[in-house]
Chain length 338, copies 2
């Protein structure tokens, strides 16, 4: 499918879009969506995974929220993929000199965010409130929110034991074989009311599941009571962007985990994983031949985002694809719901 060069999605009204995102991979598409939607005076809500959050050095760290905030603020590090650009590491070196924990790197500038957030949380503010404050300080237009203000902690069950997410991801560099994943606290967590409200908006144009790790980054979002139902009930088309390209991950350990869990590493398996939550999927052109296996509308295009132009182009394609569904399709779906 070819997109128009126009920055407008439908030429009629400013688009309203909700994106569900994990960290670095999701943040790339969120940045593309933000750029495209801002150009149309639209409204983007990015609901972000908090299963990776953890307490470290007495600070509350929210890696995925930060990746999205830094990306949309235009200050994320383009090479490292996480943290801030032009970062310095004097704090870390001094901390290691004191015998402190050095396994999780915190840049000097990045640290300010963790200190300020931790302070504001301790003062009784919600994570949503603090995130909104930080995003505003960075002049981010989009609404970036944690999917919940309650603690959810992704636990990775591996052949070397159950590891908190960051111990698995950073400490062990994803080396242990994954046998299962659980989300401590998810069943007690209250979905962010602002997310539920955005999904219930009858004027919503699209819900985008960013190409984040479905098992580690999107599942903790879906594990929160009410989120799956809200996705099923929204009148907007729900479109997943495949995190798998030609049998490998766009980024991170997605493919490795799928293999360890005995799942075929393909966009079809992603569709099967999301099940009735999604209405369509965007896959890479390299996987176009597989589209016939997928019993949903498929858009095949370049989904690897190397540069800003790639991010914007993919965002435009996804939004344009969403428009092809129209309200009628969702109305039909709605009728099937109890």
């Amino acid at each position: 499918m070819q997109t128009e060069d126009s920055s407008s999605i439908d030429g009629r009204k400013p688009p309203r879009v909700v994106a569900l995102s994990g960290g670095v991979g999701g943040a790339k598409l969120a940045l593309g969506l933000d750029t495209v939607i801002r150009a149309d005076d639209g409204r983007l809500t990015v609901a972000v995974n908090t299963g990776d959050d953890f307490e470290h050095l007495g600070l509350h760290i929210s890696p995925d929220l930060d990746s999205v905030v830094y990306a949309l603020a235009g200050i994320s590090d383009p090479l490292r993929g996480w943290g801030r650009a032009n970062e310095s590491w004097n704090f870390m070196r001094a901390l290691e000199g004191l015998g402190g924990e050095g396994w999780f790197s915190l840049g000097d500038r990045d640290l300010a965010l963790h200190v300020e957030r931790s302070l504001r949380l301790r003062q009784g503010n919600s994570l949503s409130h603090v995130t909104a404050h930080i995003a505003a300080r960075f002049n981010v237009d989009a609404t970036i929110m944690p999917v919940t203000d309650d603690p959810v902690r992704t636990m990775v069950h591996t052949d070397t034991g159950i590891l908190p997410f960051q111990r698995y991801f950073v400490g062990e560099q994803c080396k242990p074989a994954v046998q299962g994943i659980s989300f401590a606290g998810a069943d007690q967590a209250r979905a962010n009311p602002a997310l539920l409200s955005a999904l219930a908006d009858p004027a919503l144009d699209a819900v985008v599941l960013c190409p984040s790790n479905p098992y580690l980054s999107i599942d903790p979002i879906l594990a929160i009571p009410g989120v799956r139902d809200a996705l099923r009930r929204t009148t907007a088309p729900v479109i997943a962007v495949s995190p798998i390209v030609h049998g490998e991950s766009l980024k991170g350990p997605t493919a490795k985990i799928m293999r360890e869990l005995g799942i075929e590493v393909s966009p079809a398996a992603i569709v099967s994983h999301y099940g009735d939550l999604i209405d369509a999927i965007v896959v890479d052109s390299q996987d176009a031949a597989e589209a016939f296996e997928i019993d949903l509308p498929v858009l095949a295009t370049n989904i690897t985002m190397h540069c800003m132009a790639d991010k914007e182009a993919l965002a435009r394609e996804v939004l344009h694809f969403a428009r092809t569904f129209g309200a009628s399709h969702r109305s039909t779906l709605q009728e099937c719901l109890p």
Copy 2:
């Protein structure tokens, strides 16, 4: 009085010395003492004021302890007078960008100490324990300890209200006129048992009151129950080094505060302030003519410490001066005690 060039104090046994110190001014002499005493395989205990400690950005900051630790670790900034040498300030700039509190500067390297200390305190360790750990990581030989593990907070009563110490000292840059000073929590605080034990050691050779601000830095130490008595009972001579030279402070607002409190700015007034706690005073050569007003043994020498050689020379002079007292003098004093 002339000192010998020898690094030994009495040529017989390794010296044991206790120093009471505030921040930067005291840390200079503490460094001189440490160098001289280490050369003689002696034992230096530095008991440090904690009245300047405060919670900031969710971190426990102990400015005076840090000044002494950094000085003895050989990494204090020689120009700024506080914090670490070769410091960077990227955290502060980023924090200010986030709307965080920027009035109290924390360098990127310095911050590691505050984060690590705060974490260890939250884990249930005492400030003494954490301070010993930090000093050991910096290969400091001397025993550096807070004068108490309990919270003591210096409150400065000024013409603009009662200010916590750091608000007065850093926030207001000592501008408000001081009407009085109090030490919240001091009457409930338990003196560090290791300090009381060091002062009770019959082999102790000297107790040195460093040229710190008597009102802001030494008084909070003396306000802790048991410290005054321990100073009166120690068999070692207690020697104060004047923080006043020729009617002005060696450093900081000492002279300004004395004027505001209606106290003559002179070494004699310092002697009068310390009263029966001290056995002798070291004043600057410029104040030698005043010595006749002082009813205690006086050593007049250069007490302004510009460089390392100054610090070591003053330390040697103070320790040599202490030796001239011998045990007999203190025995007499002891007999007068109830």
